[in-house]
C-alpha cells in the first residue's frame, strides 16, 4: 500500500464509529492536542487570482498552487509557505497522488474542463461559482463526478449556513416554513434590492476593446483555454472577465448562484429547472455582458422566481404564496410566525463541511447535482438575456423547445485542443 492509502485509511478510522450515518460537528472530532481529520486532508488550488486566494483559508493542508499568471503565482507562493509548490499547468497538479482535494478558482470558462479532469485523476473537488459556463458543461460535470465516485462542492453556502442576505436569518427557518405549506402553493420569489440583494451590474463588459500586447507574466493562450480566441486586452482577464460572455455571465454570473441556489432548495427544485424564462433587457453586445431589467423563471407547477434588476416591484416580498408572504428581514404577514416555527419539524440535516463529505462519502449539501440545477438558472438567464426573448425549456431533456439558436448556446464549442 502506498502512502496515500495509509492516509485515507487513517481518515476513515478517525471518523466516529458511525461514520457515514450522522452529521457530526467538527468540534466533536477535535479535542486538545488532536488534529481534526479535516486538517489532515490535503489540497491544491488552481487559479490563485481574485477568488483563489480566498481558498487558502478553507479547510485542508495546502500542497500546491497553480496559475497562468506568474505574478499571481509568485504572490500566492510567497503567502503560502515553504512546503507549497507552484505550477503553471493544472494537469501536472492533477497528477500529484498526494493531493486529496482540488480547489478550482479559475474563471468559469475553465471550470467544467478542470472538474472533469480532476475527477478522472481521482480527486475530490471544491469548485468556485458559477459552476459551469454552459448547461451542457454542467451535465458533463455530473457525469464525470459520479462515474468516478468523487465528492464535489460548489463554493457557495447559503442553503446550509450563514445569514442569507437581506433575510436576516439563515435559510433553515424559511425551509421549515415553506415545507409546512403555510404559505400555500405555488410560490413567487423575488430577488431584488427590495428583498435584500444586489445585482452587480458593474460587471458589465466594455465594447470595442482594442488589441494590446500580452504582459510577459501571463500565458494568455492558457488563460483563454477553451474560450474562443480574442485579441488580448486587460479588460478581459483577471478581475474583469465576468463582463464577457466567453468567460462568465456578468452580474448574473457573479452573484446568480449565490442568490438562486437557496431558492432552488427552498422551492424543492433540486432535481428540476424552470420551463419558461421571460426577460426584459436592453440589447446585449455579442461579446460584452450588460445589465438587464428583469428575468422571470416559471416552473412547471407555477412557482416563479423573479430577478428584478431595477427594484421595480417596490413592495415585493421575498417569498409570496397564496396564503402568506415573507419579506426582507424575515418580516411576515403570517400571524405568530415565531411560535409557528417552533412547532414545525426541522429540515433533514445536510453535510455542511466538505472534509466530512470527503471522509464519509456522503454528498455535500451543495453538490454537483443540485449545483448544476441552480447554475442552470444562471445559464438559462444568460441565454435569455443574450437572445432577448422568451424561452421554453424542457427540464428533463435539458433542451429548449422550438429555439435552435438557444440550443446552440447549451453546448458551446471549445477551442481545440480542449475537449470535455
Amino acid at each position: 500500500m502506498n502512502k496515500k492509502t495509509n492516509r485515507r485509511q487513517f481518515l476513515g478510522r478517525t471518523a466516529l464509529a458511525t461514520a457515514g450515518l450522522m452529521i457530526v460537528p467538527r468540534h466533536v472530532l477535535g479535542g486538545s492536542g488532536y488534529a481534526a481529520p479535516s486538517d489532515q486532508l490535503t489540497k491544491a488550488i488552481i487559479g490563485v487570482g481574485g477568488m483563489g486566494r480566498g481558498h487558502f483559508d478553507y479547510e485542508g493542508r495546502l500542497l500546491a498552487v497553480c496559475d497562468v499568471d506568474r505574478d499571481h503565482l509568485d504572490a500566492a507562493l510567497a503567502a503560502a509557505g515553504k512546503d507549497v509548490k507552484g505550477y503553471t499547468d493544472y494537469r501536472e497538479v492533477l497528477q500529484r497522488a498526494d493531493v486529496d482535494v482540488v480547489h478550482i478558482a479559475t474563471p468559469p470558462h475553465w471550470h467544467a474542463l478542470m472538474v472533469v479532469e480532476a475527477a478522472r485523476a481521482g480527486k475530490d473537488i471544491w469548485c468556485e461559482k458559477p459552476m459551469t459556463r454552459t448547461i451542457g458543461e454542467g451535465i458533463r460535470v455530473i457525469e464525470a463526478v459520479n462515474q468516478h465516485g468523487r465528492m464535489f462542492r460548489i463554493n457557495t453556502w447559503f442553503r446550509f449556513k450563514d445569514t442569507f442576505y437581506g433575510l436576516g436569518t439563515d435559510v433553515k427557518p424559511l425551509k421549515k416554513l415553506i415545507a409546512s405549506g403555510v404559505l400555500g402553493w405555488p410560490l413567487k420569489v423575488t430577488v431584488s434590492g427590495t428583498t435584500g440583494y444586489d445585482w452587480k451590474f458593474y460587471w458589465s463588459g466594455r465594447t470595442d476593446l482594442q488589441p494590446m500586447p500580452v504582459p510577459p507574466v501571463l500565458d494568455y493562450d492558457m488563460w483563454l483555454g477553451p474560450a474562443p480566441y480574442k485579441p488580448y486586452n486587460p479588460e478581459r482577464v483577471h478581475s474583469k472577465f465576468r463582463g464577457y460572455w466567453d468567460y462568465d455571465g456578468g452580474g448574473l454570473g457573479d452573484m446568480g448562484q449565490h442568490y438562486l441556489d437557496p431558492v432552488q432548495y427552498l422551492l424543492g427544485k433540486d432535481d428540476t429547472s424552470p420551463v419558461r424564462v421571460d426577460v426584459d433587457a436592453p440589447q446585449q453586445h455579442y461579446d460584452a455582458a450588460g445589465s438587464w431589467r428583469r428575468i422571470e423563471f416559471t416552473y412547471a407547477d407555477g412557482c416563479r422566481v423573479i430577478l428584478d434588476g431595477e427594484n421595480r416591484d417596490t413592495d415585493a416580498a421575498y417569498i409570496e404564496g397564496p396564503h402568506g408572504k415573507i419579506y426582507r428581514g424575515f418580516r411576515s404577514d403570517v400571524p405568530d410566525l415565531q411560535r409557528l416555527l417552533e412547532t414545525l419539524p426541522d429540515p433533514e440535516p445536510q453535510v455542511e463541511t466538505f472534509s466530512e463529505s470527503v471522509r464519509t462519502r456522503r454528498k455535500f449539501a451543495l453538490n454537483e447535482m443540485n449545483a448544476h440545477r441552480s447554475c442552470t438558472l444562471v445559464n438559462l438567464g444568460v441565454i435569455a438575456v443574450r437572445l432577448g426573448r422568451t424561452l421554453h425549456y424542457d427540464p428533463v431533456a435539458q433542451r429548449f423547445h422550438d429555439d435552435e439558436a438557444a440550443n446552440r448556446l447549451i453546448d458551446q464549442p471549445m477551442r481545440a485542443p480542449w475537449v470535455l
Binding site: 426573448r389 464549442p413 477551442r415 485542443p417
Partner: protein
C-alpha cells in the same frame, strides 16, 4: 395640452392643413412608401438607433434591416472594420440583432436571408478578425450555406495573414452539426496540419464522424501529445471497432493512469460508445478489463468509472459486480458502487441487497441500508425496519435515518420504541432524527411513551417536546421538573421555555426560588421570559417578578430576567439593586443593566465605566457600546456616543468594538472615524473593512459615499483589507472607486493642527464691502492678529478662550452642506454664521432667562421666518454635538445630533433686513463669551448641477436641469417664463406662447419635476421633441392639466393629466388640490413610457403597441417613432409653475 377646439364636448375640428402636415411626418420609417432616402442613409438611420434599449426595439430594427433586402444586409456588414481600425460597435450590435431576430422560431425566410448576407460578407471581408466575427455570428442562423463558406476557409487554412480561421470555422461546424458539416470536416483533415489539424481531429470526434476513422487511425502514431490526445479522443467517440486495438494499446502503455494523452479516458469513452452502438459484449469486456487492472487506490476512480459504464449498458446484469464491490476494502470505491446501485431499482435487486446485507460486517451493512434509504423504494422498508433492532449501533442508526428519510413522520411509530430499546447513546441519536420528523401535532405518541422510557431516552424525548413548542404538555414537563434523575430533570427544565404559558409564571417563580444548579436556574429563567412574554398587557409583564423580588432569597435570579421583561419600574428596581451591598445581587443588577433592551440603561453603564470600578468597567464598556449600537438613535447621535466612549476604551478589543459599531453607521463622519484607525497596526484590517462597508452602497440602495476624502480613505483601506473574502472586497472597492463620480465631496475646513484656512473678522459684510482694498488689508492684518490671540487649536479642536471676534473661513461659499461638531460649557452661547450672517444658534438650554430652553440649532435672528428649532436635540452641556447644515439659495436646513431642527427656512439678512441674504459669504464660528470648542468641520459645495438633488439622486446619476436662479440650460420662450422663488413660472400674458425646451436632447431618461397648477390650468411636457412643431404630434406630449376642473367634464381618458396625449390614457385622481405642488416622474425607455404622479404610477405602456392599430384620438402621431429630442414645457394659456427639475440620462449607460 388641450386643443381649444376640444373644450367643446363632441367637437373635433382640425384645420385640413394641419392634418396633411401630420400625415407627412418628419421622421420616416424605413418601410414608408414615400421613403426617398438612399440605402446608405437608411442604413445610417438604423445604425444610429443601436444598441436597442429593448428586445422589441431590437427586433423592430432588425426587421427594418432585413426589409432592405440582400443589398441592405450587405451594406451593414460592409461597415464592419477590423478591431483597432475604428469603432464599428453599432454595426456589430446591428449584425447581432439581425441574427438573433432571424433565429427566432418560425422565422425561416429571415434566417435564410441573414445567413445569405453573412456568407456573402465572409467572401468579401479580408480581415481575419472580421471574418472570425462573421463566423461567430453565423452560429445562431447557419446551415448548409454557412457550412459551404466555412468549408472553403478550412480548405485553405493558410490563406491570408493573421490568426488561422480554422478554429472559428470548425466551431461553426460544431454548432451546425449537420451532415454537410461533417463532410466538410472530413475533407479538411488532410488539408490541415499542426494545431489546425488538432482542431479538425477534435471536431471529427465530437461529431462522431465514422467516415474519418481510417484516416484518424493513421494519425494515431503521430508524434506529439496534443495530436495524440485528440486522435485517441476522436477515435474513442467515433467508436469504430477497428480502433479497439489502438485505444487498448495506448491505455495499456499509459499504465491506465491519469496522464497527458488521456488514453485511459479514451478507452473508457470507447467502451461507452460501443455500448451505445449496441455491442454491449465489447463494452463489457473493456470495462471488466479496466476494473481488473485498476485496483490500486490511485486508479480505483477509473475502476469506478468502468463500473458506471457497465451499469449504463448492462443495467441489472451488473448487480452482482456492485454487490461484490461492497466487499472492497476501499471505502471510496464501495460508496461509488453503492451510488451506482441507487439507480438499479426493483424487487429483485432489493432481495439481493437484503441477502448481501446479512452476510457482510456491520459497517458495510450500514452502508447498504443507507443506500436503500436514498433509493427510497418502499419495498426495502422490510429490511430497513428489521435492521432497527440490530445490535450494532451503526446498522440500527443507519436504518433509523433511512426510514426517516423515506417516510418522514410515519417513521415515528418505529423510531419511538427505539428510544426505549436502544442503549443511551443510540437513543439520543434517534431523538436527533425525531427532531426532523416530528412537529407539534405529532407529539402525543411521544408523550404517551414517556413513562416507559429509560431516563436517558426520557430526557431526549422531553427535549423534543420543548423544541417543538408542546405547550399542551406543559403539565407533563412541569411534573418531571423535579425528577430524581438528573438527566431527566435537566431536560425538563430545558424544555420549560418551549412549553410554559402566561399562567405558569407563579409556578416558574417558585421553581426559580428552589433551584440550586446554575444550569437549572438559567433554564427556569428562560422559561420565565417565555411565559412572561405571553402576559397581557405587555406593561404588566414585570409586575409579578418585581413583587416576588421583595420576598425572594435569590433576588438576583429575578433581576437577571428583568431586562427581557422590561419596563421603567423594572429598570428603577435594577438600578436600586446595583447599589446594594450583597455581591450576588449587585452582580445580577449589573448584568441586567448590560442586558437591558433599548438605551434607557446606557447612561448608567457609562457612569459605571467611567468610575474606574475595576470589577465592572470592561463589561460596562461593552454593554454601553452594544446598547448604543443596537438602539434606534440617529446615526449622528450614535457616533457621538461611541466617540464619547472611545477615551474609556482601554484594550484592543474595546477599541475594536468601537470600530465595529462605527462601521454600521453610513455617514461621512463615521467614515472619518473608521479611517482614523487605518494607521493603527492592530486595527487596520478592521478599520479597512469598516471604511469599505461605510463607503460602499448597501445592497439595493444608492447610499455610497463620494468625494476626495472618501476616495483617499478607500484607497488606503485597499492595502489593509484581509480575510477569506477580501479579494471580493478589494474587487468591489476598486470597482466602486472606478465608477465614483468626479467631485470633491466634503472637504475639511480645519486640519486639526492649526488655523490655516481661517481668518479674523473685519466688520460686517456690508461695512466690509465699503472698505478700499488697502483699508481692508490693514484691518484684516489686525483682525488676524486678534484671532491668533483668542482662537487656538487644542486636542484636534478649535477652541475659543472667551474674548474677541468671530473666526471666519478665508473663502466665501454659496450653496453648501456643512458638518461641524461643537461643545459648550455651562451657560455657553455661540453660533454658526452662514454667508457672514448670524446665525444658527448654539446655547445652553438651561439659560431659560433668554429663552434657551427651546434648544440649539434655530435661526436665532429671524424675525419673519421661524427662529426656533423644531425640537430640542441638544446633548448635555460639556458633551459634543453635531450640526449638519444645508444652505441652498436663501433656505437653511439644520440637523442637530441627527434630528431635524430647521426645515428649509429662509435666513433673513440681519445686517440689512431690507435685502435678502447675500448670495455668498464666509462661514463663521461665533465668539460669544465662554469656552467653546469646534471639531471636524467639513463643507461640501453644492454646484448648480446638484441643485436640490437628494443624496440618492446624486449617487444614482441624476443631474439638475434648473438651477433655481435663471434659465441657463434652457432654450426657447424666454419671454413667457421667468424664475421666481426657485421656480420656473409660465405666464401667458408675459410673452409669446412658444415652448421652453432643454438645450440638450435625451433619448431614454428618467425625468423628475414638481409643478403647481392654477384652476383649469393646461400645459404639458414634450418629450423627444424637435424645437419646432406641435410637440403632441411631432414628438409626444405628457399631459399636464387640472383635469378635475368643471370645464373638462367631457374629457377623454387619453386627455387626462399624465396621459401620453391621444395615445395612452392615464389614471385620474392623483393630482393634489390646485395650488399645491405635485411631484411627477416620466420614464421613457425605448417605446415604454411610465408616468408616476405623487407616487402613483398613472401611465405605464408601450407607445408603439398602443398605436399599432391607430391611436385613441385617431390622429397621426409620427412623433411616436422619434427616439430622442428635447424635453420641454408646452405653453398654453394658463399660469403654471415648475421647479426641482432633474434628469437621469438612461442612454448614457449603454455601451459606446
Amino acid at each position: 395640452m388641450i386643443r381649444r377646439t376640444l373644450r367643446k364636448p363632441g367637437v373635433r375640428i382640425l384645420p385640413i392643413a394641419v392634418l396633411i402636415s401630420l400625415a407627412m411626418p418628419a421622421s420616416v420609417s424605413a418601410r414608408s412608401p414615400q421613403d426617398v432616402r438612399t440605402l446608405a442613409t437608411k442604413v445610417a438611420d438604423i445604425l444610429a438607433q443601436f444598441p436597442a434599449a429593448s428586445s422589441e426595439q431590437r427586433d423592430r430594427l432588425a426587421a427594418q434591416m432585413l426589409a432592405l433586402g440582400d443589398p441592405g444586409v450587405a451594406e451593414f456588414v460592409r461597415r464592419l472594420v477590423p478591431v483597432g481600425a475604428g469603432n464599428d460597435t453599432a454595426v456589430r450590435f446591428a449584425v447581432n440583432a439581425m441574427v438573433v431576430y432571424a433565429s427566432r422560431f418560425g422565422g425561416e425566410s429571415d434566417r435564410a436571408a441573414a445567413e445569405r448576407g453573412l456568407v456573402s460578407a465572409l467572401g468579401t471581408a479580408s480581415d481575419p478578425e472580421v471574418r472570425a466575427f462573421i463566423l461567430s455570428q453565423l452560429r445562431p442562423v447557419g446551415r448548409d450555406e454557412a457550412v459551404r463558406a466555412a468549408a472553403q476557409l478550412l480548405a485553405s487554412p493558410s490563406g491570408g495573414t493573421g490568426p488561422s480561421l480554422v478554429e472559428p470555422s470548425t466551431q461553426l461546424m460544431l454548432a451546425i452539426h449537420s451532415a454537410s458539416a461533417r463532410q466538410a470536416l472530413v475533407a479538411a483533415l488532410d488539408k490541415t496540419a499542426g494545431a489546425d489539424q488538432v482542431t479538425v481531429v477534435k471536431a471529427l470526434g465530437e461529431l462522431r464522424v465514422d467516415e474519418a476513422n481510417a484516416r484518424l487511425l493513421a494519425l494515431a502514431s503521430a508524434p506529439g501529445v496534443p495530436i495524440r490526445k485528440s486522435v485517441l479522443g476522436a477515435l474513442a467517440r467515433i467508436g469504430n471497432p477497428a480502433s479497439h486495438r489502438v485505444l487498448a494499446g495506448a491505455a495499456r502503455a499509459a499504465d491506465y493512469r491519469y496522464e497527458p494523452t488521456n488514453a485511459t479516458t479514451a478507452l473508457l469513452e470507447y467502451a461507452k460508445r460501443v455500448g451505445e452502438k449496441g455491442d454491449v459484449a465489447a463494452c463489457e469486456k473493456i470495462c471488466r478489463e479496466l476494473m481488473k487492472k485498476c485496483t490500486d487506490p490511485e486508479r480505483l476512480p477509473t475502476s469506478s468509472a468502468a463500473l458506471a459504464v457497465l451499469v449504463d449498458y448492462r443495467g441489472h446484469d451488473v448487480l452482482p459486480a456492485l454487490i461484490a464491490a461492497v466487499d472492497h476494502r476501499d471505502r471510496d470505491y464501495r460508496h461509488a458502487a453503492l451510488r451506482l446501485a441507487e439507480g438499479l431499482t426493483g424487487v429483485a435487486a432489493i432481495r439481493q441487497w437484503s441477502a448481501k446485507a446479512q452476510k457482510v460486517d456491520p459497517e458495510r451493512r450500514a452502508e447498504i441500508i443507507a443506500m436503500l434509504g436514498r433509493q427510497g423504494d418502499r419495498r426495502s422498508l422490510a429490511l430497513i425496519r428489521s435492521s432497527l433492532a440490530a445490535t450494532d449501533s451503526r446498522v440500527a442508526l443507519a436504518a433509523a435515518e433511512a426510514l426517516a428519510h423515506m417516510i418522514g413522520a410515519e417513521a415515528n411509530v418505529d423510531l419511538l420504541p427505539m428510544l426505549k430499546s436502544r442503549p443511551a447513546g443510540d437513543a439520543r441519536r434517534v431523538a436527533d432524527i425525531l427532531q426532523w420528523t416530528t412537529d407539534e401535532r405529532h407529539l402525543d405518541p411521544l408523550v404517551a411513551t414517556l413513562d416507559t422510557l429509560s431516563p436517558e431516552a426520557k430526557a431526549a424525548a422531553i427535549g423534543i417536546i420543548g423544541a417543538k413548542g408542546g405547550r399542551r404538555f406543559a403539565p407533563q414537563v412541569f411534573a418531571v421538573a423535579g425528577d430524581t434523575n438528573p438527566e431527566v430533570r435537566a431536560a425538563a427544565l430545558g424544555a420549560l421555555a418551549g412549553v410554559a404559558g402566561a399562567g405558569d409564571v407563579p409556578q416558574l417563580l417558585r421553581l426559580l426560588e428552589s433551584a440550586s444548579e446554575p444550569a437549572a436556574i438559567a433554564d427556569v429563567q428562560r422559561a420565565l421570559v417565555a411565559a412572561a412574554a405571553q402576559v397581557q398587557p405587555a406593561q404588566a409583564r414585570s409586575n409579578p417578578l418585581l413583587e416576588a423580588m421583595t420576598t425572594s432569597a435569590h433576588a438576583e435570579r429575578i433581576i437577571e430576567v428583568l431586562p427581557q421583561t422590561g419596563g421603567t419600574g423594572a429598570l428603577a428596581a435594577v438600578v436600586g439593586q446595583f447599589d446594594r451591598p450583597e455581591p450576588a445581587v449587585k452582580a445580577a443588577a449589573f448584568k441586567a443593566l448590560t442586558d437591558w433592551k433599548g438605551i434607557d440603561a446606557a447612561d448608567r453603564l457609562f457612569a459605571i465605566c467611567a468610575s474606574a470600578d475595576a470589577t465592572y468597567r470592561g463589561r460596562a464598556f461593552a454593554g454601553f457600546v452594544r446598547q448604543i449600537s443596537s438602539s434606534s438613535l440617529p446615526a449622528d447621535q450614535k457616533l457621538l456616543q461611541l466617540r464619547r466612549a472611545l477615551p474609556l476604551a482601554s484594550t484592543l478589543d474595546e477599541r475594536r468594538a468601537i470600530v465595529r459599531a462605527v462601521e454600521r453607521l453610513k455617514t461621512f463622519q463615521a467614515f472619518l472615524v473608521a479611517a482614523s484607525f487605518l494607521d493603527d497596526a492592530q486595527l487596520a484590517a478592521d478599520a479597512a473593512g469598516a471604511v469599505m462597508r461605510i463607503a460602499l452602497p448597501t445592497a439595493g440602495a444608492r447610499d455610497g459615499l463620494t468625494g476626495t476624502v472618501v476616495r483617499s480613505g478607500l484607497t488606503k483601506a485597499l492595502q489593509a483589507l484581509a480575510g477569506p473574502e477580501s479579494e471580493y472586497d478589494k474587487e468591489n472597492v476598486r470597482t466602486y472607486l472606478a465608477a465614483m463620480p468626479a467631485g470633491e465631496g466634503f472637504v475639511p475646513l480645519f486640519n486639526g493642527r492649526d488655523l490655516s484656512g481661517w481668518k479674523g473678522l473685519v466688520e460686517n459684510p456690508i461695512a466690509r464691502a465699503k472698505l478700499t482694498p488697502e483699508q481692508l488689508a490693514a484691518k484684516q492684518a489686525e483682525a488676524d492678529a486678534r484671532m491668533r490671540a483668542n482662537w487656538s487649536v487644542r486636542d484636534n479642536a478649535i477652541v475659543f478662550n472667551g474674548s474677541g471676534d468671530n473666526l471666519c473661513t478665508t473663502r466665501d461659499y454659496r450653496d453648501f452642506e456643512m458638518i461641524v461638531d461643537w461643545r459648550i460649557t455651562k451657560g455657553g452661547d455661540s453660533g454658526i454664521y452662514l454667508r457672514g450672517t448670524p446665525q444658527v444658534q448654539i446655547w445652553d438650554p438651561a439659560r431659560t432667562d433668554v429663552g434657551a430652553e427651546v434648544g440649539s440649532g434655530g435661526l436665532y435672528n429671524n424675525q419673519n421666518n421661524p427662529s426656533k428649532p423644531l425640537v430640542r436635540a441638544d446633548n448635555p452641556v460639556g458633551e459634543w454635538n453635531t450640526f449638519r447644515i444645508t444652505m441652498v439659495g436663501d433656505k437653511v436646513t439644520v440637523f442637530l445630533n441627527g434630528l431635524k431642527v430647521v426645515d428649509n427656512v429662509t435666513l433673513e439678512n440681519y445686517w440689512d433686513r431690507k435685502q435678502g441674504i447675500f448670495p455668498s459669504g464666509a462661514i463663521e464660528l461665533q465668539a460669544h463669551g465662554t469656552d467653546l470648542a469646534f471639531r471636524d468641520i467639513y463643507v461640501r459645495e453644492l454646484s448648480e448641477a446638484e441643485y436640490r438633488l437628494t443624496d440618492e439622486e446624486r449617487a444614482d446619476g441624476f443631474v439638475a436641469l434648473f438651477n433655481g436662479r435663471n434659465l441657463d440650460g434652457w432654450i426657447g420662450n424666454f419671454g413667457g417664463y421667468k424664475v421666481e422663488d426657485g421656480a420656473m413660472v409660465y405666464d401667458p400674458k408675459a410673452g409669446n406662447r412658444t415652448n421652453l425646451y432643454t438645450a440638450s436632447q435625451y433619448a431614454d431618461f428618467q425625468f423628475r419635476f414638481e409643478f403647481q397648477l392654477t384652476p383649469a390650468a393646461n400645459s404639458g411636457v414634450g418629450i423627444r421633441a424637435p424645437l419646432e412643431g406641435d410637440a403632441a404630434y411631432v414628438a409626444m406630449e405628457i399631459q399636464v392639466l387640472d383635469d378635475g376642473a368643471p370645464v373638462y367634464a367631457a374629457l377623454q381618458p387619453h386627455q387626462y393629466h399624465g396621459s401620453v396625449y391621444g395615445v395612452i390614457p392615464a389614471q385620474r385622481g392623483f393630482l393634489k388640490p390646485v395650488g399645491e405642488w405635485n411631484s411627477e416622474e416620466i420614464v421613457a425607455r425605448g417605446s415604454r413610457v411610465r408616468v408616476t404622479l405623487n407616487g402613483h404610477v398613472i401611465v405605464d405602456g408601450d407607445i408603439l403597441e398602443a398605436s399599432r392599430n391607430g391611436t385613441l384620438d385617431h390622429q397621426q402621431h409620427p412623433g411616436l417613432q422619434r427616439m430622442q429630442g428635447h424635453i420641454g414645457w408646452l405653453s398654453h394659456d394658463s399660469v403654471v409653475k415648475f421647479r426641482n427639475v432633474r434628469i437621469k440620462d438612461l442612454s448614457g449607460g449603454k455601451t459606446d
